[in-house]
Each structure stands twice: as C-alpha cells, then as structure tokens.
C-alpha cells in the first residue's frame, strides 16, 4: 500500500505539466496554480474512479424510469410489467426496453400486451354459446 501511495504521490509531485493538462476547465485558480490544481486533480481522479462504477447504476435507474413512463402510457406500471415479462421468460434487458419504448412504440405496446396477458386474471372470459352455455 505504501509503495502505491508513494508512487501516486510521486506522480503528483513531479509532473506539473501532466497536472495542468488534467486541470483544464477547472474553476478559478484550480486550473492555474499548481498547489490548488494538484488537490483538485487528485479529487477529480477519485471522483472519476467512483463514478465509473456509479454510471452503471445511474444508467440503469434512468432506464427504469423511462420504461416506467412508457408503460404507464399503456396503463401498466413498471413493477407489474417486469413481473409479466419474467413470467413469459422474455429476457430483454432494461436498456433495450427503454430504447424500444422511445423509438419503437408499437413494438413496445406489443410487449406490454404480452406482459399483461401473462397474468391469468387478464384473459378475457371465453363466451360459450348455445348448448355449451347451458351446460
């Protein structure tokens, strides 16, 4: 651990040019003065490490919000929709589903209908005529 820290500190101590290159676009003195820039660049790298992992979470939650909006246009909410899809063993992921809801509305409606029909309560009762109705 110490070796790595020393290496990191070494990197940040020695390469002023690299630090200023990474500090482009920063606010105020953080882009011009080395002492401040070094701190902000360090923080920026930490944030970018953390956010490479957060981005995956954020994108998924955005897809879920978009799918929710798309299904509510058809009268179904996200939870029931996904439940119906898993029942029908449709393995489309949320990314694709959100893109379908945006760009392919008819296909998405077909998916919503498939999901709705997965619940036995939704199937329209078959009308029996004639003798079958009496029996």
């Amino acid at each position: 651990m110490e070796k790595v820290e020393e290496k990191e500190i070494g990197f940040l101590k020695m390469n002023k040019g690299k630090i200023f290159k990474l500090a482009k676009g920063f606010r105020g003195r953080a882009k011009n003065c080395i002492r401040i820039a070094r701190e902000r660049v360090e923080k920026a790298l930490q944030y970018s490490y953390r956010d490479r992992r957060n981005k995956k979470r954020d994108m998924r939650s955005l897809w879920i919000e978009q799918i929710n909006a798309g299904t509510r246009l058809h009268g179904v909410n996200y939870g029931n929709f996904m439940h119906g899809l898993t029942k029908e063993n449709i393995q489309l992921n949320r990314k694709v589903l959100s893109e379908l809801s945006m760009h392919e509305p008819y296909s998405f409606k077909a998916l919503v209908d498939v999901s709705r029909s997965a619940f036995p309560g939704n199937r329209p009762a078959v009308k029996k005529e004639g003798l079958a109705a009496i029996l």
Partner: protein, 232 residues
C-alpha cells in the same frame, strides 16, 4: 418455453410487418403531438429538423457505395445512448395543459402537475434536460384541503433579519394571494436548482376561471389519481 417462442415470433412479426426496409422511418405519424395523450408516435423523428430522409431512400442502389455510415442509413440509435438534441425540446412546440383547481386536493394536484412539468410521464424523460410540458392552473382560490388544514396549515417565510419570521395560515394566504398556495406546493415538488427554477416558470397559476393562454390551445390535463377530487 412455448410462450417465449410465441412471444418472439409475435415480436418478429411486429418488426417485419411495420418495416418495409431496414431502418426506414414510418411514412405517416398516427396522431399530431398534442391531440392524443395515448397516441403513439416515433419520438426521435418528431421535429422538423430531424425529418431529413436518410440517403438510402433517395440514392439509387448502384450509387450507394459513395456514401457510408450515418449519412446513408441515418443516426445509429441502437449502439449509442440517445440524448435529446436541441430540436427535441423546442419550447414553442411543447404541449400546454390546463387544470381547473376547483375542489381538488392540493397535494395530489401539485404532484400530478409536477410530474407533467418535469416530463416524467414521457418515455423520453431525461433528468438533465427540460422535456416537460407547460401547465396552466385556473380557479386557484378554490383549491381544497382535507381535515383542519384550512385553519391549521402554516406558511412560513423569513425576511433574513432577526425576529423576521412571518407566519400565515392557509386561510389567510388564500385571501391574500391564492396563487401562491399552488405555486408553493408545486415548487416543493420540482427539483431544486437551475433546471428546477426554469421548470417552475412553466407553471402558470391564475385566480379566476380565465387565463391568457388561449393561443397555445391548452389541453385538459390527464389526471389518473382517483382521490384528487374532494367529495364531502
């Protein structure tokens, strides 16, 4: 198993039926944007600027080798993340909704309004962009609250100076400035920040039954909450 195959066959038939050529846009839109809330329309091809036909429709087959990629087939929507362009959220083309606040429960009404202003009811919702609609509220002085809130709900504000806290009840504020009640409620439900402040300007509240936005042809706001109307 069987249902998955049937479902995939269903989907592939839906795909093939509606698409004569690969990635060719549909010839006619089913309904104009504002008229039908449930009308389906292909979102990414809404605005005028994006309606340029991809060259694959115009260029004869022999000459297609001269073009490639995006200009031939149109933008790749399946392998890149879609982000709304400026043409996707032009303010002048946004939907306008109108609500009559008479005898509607304050919080439930404000919640529905905030959802429509934010744009969360549309599949193209993007948190960093204003994709919502405008909402006009009329008869703001007739909004209702349940229980004893009419005399007990307090609205506070502070002037910044010591001892400068001013407290008012719902009743008093409704007599003084009735629009502020709905504005206060909706502002609390919109995001706080630059974008939230801009979204707040899309809310227009009026005291009587008249509003000056007839030129925008506002549509009645679709409300799905069943308990929003005060019954007793």
């Amino acid at each position: 198993m069987a249902t998955a195959i049937a479902a995939s066959a269903f989907l592939s038939s839906a795909f093939s039926g509606g698409r004569p050529q690969p990635r060719q846009r549909r010839a006619a839109r089913p309904a104009p944007r504002r008229a039908a809330a449930g009308g389906l329309s292909v979102r990414c091809e809404q605005s005028e600027k994006q309606k340029r036909q991809p060259l694959s429709a115009l260029v004869p087959r022999e000459q297609r080798f001269m073009f490639e990629g995006d200009e031939l087939c149109g933008p790749d929507i399946w392998n890149t993340t879609w982000y709304p362009k400026a043409a996707d959220h032009v303010t002048t083309e946004k939907t306008w909704y109108v609500v009559d606040a008479t005898d509607k429960i304050l919080g439930r009404l404000a919640s529905t309004i905030a959802v429509h202003i934010r744009g969360k009811n549309e599949a193209t919702y993007t948190p960093s962009v204003d994709m919502g609609a405008f909402v006009v509220v009329v008869n703001a002085e007739k909004v209702a609250v349940s229980g004893k809130k009419r005399s007990q709900k307090l609205y506070r504000r502070h002037s910044g100076r010591p001892g400068g806290m001013k407290v008012e009840t719902f009743d008093q504020l409704q007599k003084r400035i009735p629009e502020r009640i709905i504005e206060h409620a909706v502002r609390g439900m919109l995001p706080k920040g630059r974008l939230g402040r801009r979204l707040f300007t899309h809310l227009k509240v009026y005291k009587g039954a008249e509003h000056p936005h007839e030129a925008q042809k506002p549509v009645p706001l679709p409300i799905r909450d069943k308990r929003i109307q005060k019954t007793d």
